[in-house]
């Protein structure tokens, strides 16, 4: 079984994001970038399926600038077999991403595509679902458990108020949630070996995908600063404030 995993290079989860002075976006110059945490989980799940003997090949793809190569190299070090960089310096919105992934699926014919449920920069949570619609494949989103058997994949999904398990006919699209697995560290010997693995480059143009944005960002602003807390002198005062100021009891 062949698996395609999509990964994105984003601002590191621990960086305090600052809005640009002209409100057109967030500051990315000199900011640490890393693999999107949900994508790390997607790579890990694919590698585990390979280790279990379920998957035979893992192809990892990223859409973005030249530096996305680093993210792909990380995925290769973690256990992916080869990588594809779809190079562009333009903003690529979820619909365009899913169209590009669809083209890659047509070329590579994987049996499963694993993606993060969302990236922590746009927080859109759309790509997996759109890809599934474009391909007309079944989808198992927010996966917390993935089991492949008899040409099917059983995906346990984290839904409001509980867990739901769906059985999907392969080929299928799976998006990962936080509890699916704990990604491993990149081992240094594997990083060395990953340098010899194939990393192909292509572009949206070559794939025949129009990535022009469909959504226009008008303005980006920081959330309002939180007010400092106060200390109350007594329980009575606390109750009084909860009642009359916070109006929660």
């Amino acid at each position: 079984m062949k698996i395609l995993v999509a990964v994105k290079r984003v601002i590191d989860y621990n960086v305090k994001v600052r809005v640009k002075a002209d409100n057109t976006g967030v500051e990315t110059a000199n900011v640490k970038m890393s693999m999107n945490p949900f994508c790390e989980i997607a790579v890990e799940e694919a590698v585990r399926l390979k280790e279990q003997g379920v998957a035979s090949e893992i192809i990892v793809a990223s859409i973005g600038p030249q530096q996305s190569q680093e993210t792909l190299r990380t995925a290769l070090a973690l256990g992916a077999d080869r990588a594809i960089l779809v190079k562009t310096d333009e903003e690529v919105q979820p619909l365009a991403v899913s169209k590009i992934l669809k083209e890659l699926v047509n070329k590579e014919s994987p049996d499963m595509v694993i993606l993060g449920k969302q990236t922590i920069d746009g927080d859109n949570n759309q790509t997996g679902q759109m890809l599934s619609a474009l391909l007309d494949w079944p989808q198992g989103t927010f996966a917390s458990k993935v089991v492949v058997e008899d040409g099917k994949v059983n995906v346990t999904r984290e839904i409001d108020g509980g867990l739901e398990t769906v059985a999907l006919q392969l080929p299928a699209v799976v998006t990962t949630d936080l509890r699916l697995n704990e990604p491993r560290f990149a081992s240094l010997p594997n990083i060395m070996k990953a340098k010899k693995k194939t990393l192909d480059e292509t572009t949206p143009d070559e794939l025949g995908v129009d990535i022009s944005p469909r959504v226009k960002t008008l303005k980006v602003e920081s959330p309002p600063a939180r007010e400092a807390g106060i200390k109350v002198e007594s329980v009575d005062e606390l109750v009084e404030k909860l009642k009359n100021e916070a109006k929660v009891i």
């Binding site: 590191d12 621990n14 790390e40 560290f185 990149a186 081992s187 240094l188 010997p189 990083i191």
Partner: protein, 463 residues
């Protein structure tokens, strides 16, 4: 007498800030060493420098012994009150000034928590590099009084290197303003440096002007596995020569297992290893990573390391650091007898070998946890108390081996206390690291500043 003292103190700071309950005297009477029984007279918590001066004047007049108290995370008993002393807590002296962006300085009162200083620097696009596992509780005053070191010393030095000015209250209640934040000041004896590392024996530190610096870029962490203790030095040598390191730490597999059994953290890799080193560097460019990889290949080929990982994100860097930083707290319930010892980095190979020989021979029945800031030549050797042994008996057994360890350190020209201070734990061993003449001068200095011996008496040196 006690009631009189309490009343006098209450007059100075108000009744709410003199504590006498059993819980409080127990809590404030001891530090993290946990080797001593607390016995404090009371705790006084001044809110201003004026109040500190009044308290000290009163104590000096009435010859009441004082124990300056910071976050009490010290590991040498320096902040313990075991003889009915009055604990002077700096908790409420916790104001922090605006950052001066031209001078790159900030003025902190002594009770500012170290982490708060780090955060203030960060909020202003700057960096306070002194860092260690207890910065969430330790105070800047306590850091200065012990000249704290930690995990970034290899690149940024000790607390001493970041103190541009100090305000201190001496035993007669005078307030000294030392070096006023100056970079250059060639006017004779620099008394500021006497107070750094003085462990509360010369006076009370009430305020400090702290230097800040530019934040490092993209700190990247590697953890490498080693099969022998003798592999530590060659690995250190290789990385030290090729990269600009910001940390080079070391810990044993036993230490790692203690952490993993107390915390939900991932193991770095499955290959078995007896020892680990944690290496951190600023990943400035692709070339830096290439250098790091080639250094790794070199030590792998030479058989000094068995496996290794490298952080791919800040989260992973933090997870890897946690493996090293959580050791102390993961063993604290086993009341470790701590040796915090050092030599020059180039002596690390023979140092580790000699200590290992002593440990094997003298402590066959104890569990030993090895870790430390080995890139600075600093080893933390922790001997764990077996549950079946009484504390006194355990300490006595550990102490009986001290001379062997300290003689080795003396021969190597090292120190019996690298960064945890002397306090009560190491006081009687001082002459292994300081000459008799030096100790005599130290005593005379103490008498000049504190003729009535009220400032943390019995700590650091015995008069």
């Amino acid at each position: 007498m006690t009631t009189e003292i309490i009343q006098a103190l209450e007059k100075i700071v108000g009744t709410a800030h003199v504590l006498t309950s059993k819980d409080d005297t127990h809590e404030y009477g001891q530090d993290w060493s946990k080797l001593f029984t607390p016995d404090a007279l009371a705790i006084v918590r001044p809110g201003t420098i004026d109040e500190v001066q009044l308290i000290v004047k009163y104590a000096n007049e009435h010859k009441i012994a004082l124990v300056p108290s910071g976050g009490r995370t010290g590991l040498s008993g320096g902040a313990c009150a075991t003889n009915g002393e009055l604990v002077l807590s700096l908790d409420r002296l916790n104001k922090i000034s605006k950052v001066n962006k031209v001078d790159q300085t900030v003025v902190c009162e002594a009770g500012v928590i170290t982490e708060q200083l780090q955060n203030t620097a960060e909020d202003n696009g700057l960096y306070y590099p002194v860092d260690f596992a207890s910065t969430g509780s330790s105070q800047i005053g306590g850091n200065i009084a012990t000249n704290a070191g930690g995990i970034k010393v290899i690149r940024w030095g000790m607390t001493r290197d970041w103190i541009l000015g100090l305000k201190v209250v001496t035993a007669n209640g005078d307030l000294l303003n030392l070096n006023q934040g100056l970079i250059k000041n060639a006017t004779g004896y620099d008394l500021r440096h006497l107070f750094i590392g003085s462990e509360g024996t010369l006076g009370i530190i009430v305020e400090a002007t702290i230097k800040l610096t530019r934040p490092p870029k993209d700190l990247t962490v590697m953890v490498l596995g080693l099969s022998e203790l003798s592999d530590v030095y060659p690995v250190m040598e290789t990385f030290q020569q090729q990269l600009n390191l910001t940390a080079f730490e070391f810990f044993s597999d036993k230490a790692l297992n203690k952490v993993l059994s107390h915390h939900d953290l991932p193991k770095p890799f499955d290959s078995p290893a007896e020892y680990y080193v944690l290496i951190e560097f600023e990943n400035e460019s692709e070339q830096t990573s290439e250098t790091a990889f080639s250094a790794f290949e070199q030590v792998l080929e030479n058989g000094h390391v068995v496996d290794g990982v490298i952080s791919q994100s800040e989260t992973q860097a933090q997870q890897l650091w946690a493996l090293r930083e959580r050791i102390s707290e993961s063993i604290s319930h086993e009341i470790p007898y701590k040796n915090d010892i050092s030599v020059t980095p180039s002596n690390v190979a023979s140092f580790l070998e000699s200590i290992n020989t002593i440990v094997k021979e003298k402590y066959p029945e104890f569990e030993i946890i090895w870790f430390g800031h080995i890139g600075d030549g600093n080893l933390h050797l922790n001997i764990l108390k077996p549950a079946c042994l009484e504390l006194d008996e355990f300490v006595a057994k550990c102490k009986s081996v001290n001379p062997n360890i300290f003689e080795t350190i003396q021969q190597l020209g090292g120190s019996i206390s690298a960064e945890h201070g002397v306090g009560l734990v190491k006081r009687d061993y001082l002459e292994y690291s300081r000459s008799h003449e030096e100790v005599l001068l130290m005593k005379q200095i103490k008498q000049v500043f504190d003729p009535n011996n009220i400032m943390n008496p019995g700590k650091l040196i015995a008069l």
